[in-house]
Amino acid sequence: MLRTSAAASLTPYAELLDSLGGLTWPSQVRVRAGDPGSHRSNRLGRSPEFTEYRSYRPGDDLRRLDWKLFGRTDRLYLRIADDHAALRTSIIVDASASMRFPVEGYGKWEHACAIALGLTSVAISDGDAVGISVATSVGERAIPPRRRRDVLHDISELFRSIDVSGEASMAGAVERLVSAPRLVVITDFLGEAERALGALRVAAASGAEIFAVHVVAETEMSPPERAFMASDPERPEFRRAMSDENRSRYLETFAAWRGRVAGELHAMNGNYRMTTTAEPVRDVVRRVVLGGAS
């Protein structure tokens, strides 16, 4: 049961967490043996849940012989059962200045935080340990993986304490968590996209399940139909003029880049989900855990 103060800090997310009840996030592959959990392990074990019989081979553990079956058939069979293990989940959230957009109101950062909390809630329901890492301009802020439900409160408090500004190194955070069995990256990929994708490629090669949630603001998808001088929040001196003449080219270039990022992630057998700030978080989380359309 959550502490009272913890429940209070999660009040803004109550509706979201409630809507995710009963949702599971099964592993796409057999997980390595470890703490007991809900994911099928790649090791056959001795759980009460029967799976199959196998003929005895010299060297097998005699304790796994089905003696009753031997009594009936006079043959030696081993009783085989699937082993289940927990899957450690690491979530990395981008807190660079580009995530604070739109500056006023509900923006990419708020969207990313809600998604991270939703995924954490689902993973904890599965009995998985969840850790969070926030890449900020002043370094990484992290909460180590925990299975207790009050990690939701800690994550919520961590998000509230983050100053979303400057340039953050997502790639560095991914490189540090490259050995995580399940890695979730929630970002707009507007920082060091190439380096972050490279680090994800390494993690995927290490056998990790990769989930990339690409957060895009509605305004980025459809900029205001007026001329204005656009500036990069991470590098204010970088400015370009948006006008009616180049809006269509902007949209084409932006769409092509998103396609390339998605292609890179698919190529590494990762899961790419793009979401806009207009999409309900509940739907985003469902698409991530159930493997909906990207």
Partner: protein, 413 residues
Amino acid sequence: MNFVAPLWLAAAGLVGAGVLIAHLFSSTVPPQDVLPTVRFIPESTPLTVMRSRRVSDRLLLLLRLLAVALLGFALSGAHVSRRAPSGIVLIDASRAVASLPLSVDSALAISIAGSEFVVFDSTARRVTRDELRELGRASARGSLSAALVVAHRIVAGTAGGEGTQLVIVSPTVAEEMDSAVAPLIGLWQGPVRVVRVAAAAQPAQGSWDMRVSGDDPVAAALAGVPKGSGAATVRLLRTPASRADSQWTETSGGVLVVWPANSGSLVRRAVADSQGGIASSRAVVVAQFARAEQPREGRPVARWIDGEPAATERPLGRGCIREVAIPVDVAGDIALRESFRAVARSLLAPCGGTPDFTSSHVIPSRSAAAVIPSRGAARNLATAGTLPLWLATLAALALIVEQALRGRGRRAA
């Protein structure tokens, strides 16, 4: 409309032209906005700087031009010139005039069409021709210089003031002359005419009485002063004043001279000291006096040599109370000196001082007027009046509105 410094008007015209040109050829930089995906905007696109060939922001332009024009008018000292009156008649209504109706008749007879009328006693004020018949003679002393100042103010800021005739209808007695009269008349550019009317008769010395207890040095000092006949008009008290004394002053219009023989009746000074003399309008006494008390606030009628009042006078009903804080030692001979007796006699004068209705001459002094250094500047300032101040205020208001409009325009962008 005339201008004190027309050069500022030309400067304002130049600035206004600059503002107009700026609006014709202004370049518009599009508003700034944050967009994280700015890198996907084609790099080859030039900065959007739009040049306008038409007048942009017309309301702002109008406000700016209005502010510049108003400032130009304000700095150039714009003023609307009035026509100077053909004549100004100063009518004496002080106590020195024998008959005010006769003075008014004289003034009306001698005034030319379009004249302004100024009535004066201790102060001066403009009146209309119709109000002249309702005037009453004042009991105050006249001040001709006050009337001359009002006359100068009337012609200030008018055109043709050099032709305005100044007529002074007054007995021109000595008590209404001061050192400013001659220079003020010397400054007058038009003709000056003095119509001398009959002065009031010099009032006879009123009767007086005195209340003392025992031997009193002041009584000795005033021993030679005749007490006169009939009801007393001056009452000198060396004993504490009573309610009846105050009532007598209020109703009779007499002078109540409170000159306590014993200390403690007047306001005690914070620091008691001694002074080496007393001066009144008639005499000076040089002697050492212990000063422990002071008279209450009022018009000084005698002063210590350091300038502080030794005796003051304040009105009470129809009369006045004169408080004297001059201690007189019984043992000394000060009271017998002629100078002290003169000072004591001056304290028996009627309220407002002894009238001096001896005739005096009004002599214009151009040389005295010339010592006023900023005569031209003063005339210019007087000419401009308060119109430039109002214009500058309106200009400031226009600039404030312009600022508000500009801020709203930015927010809308």
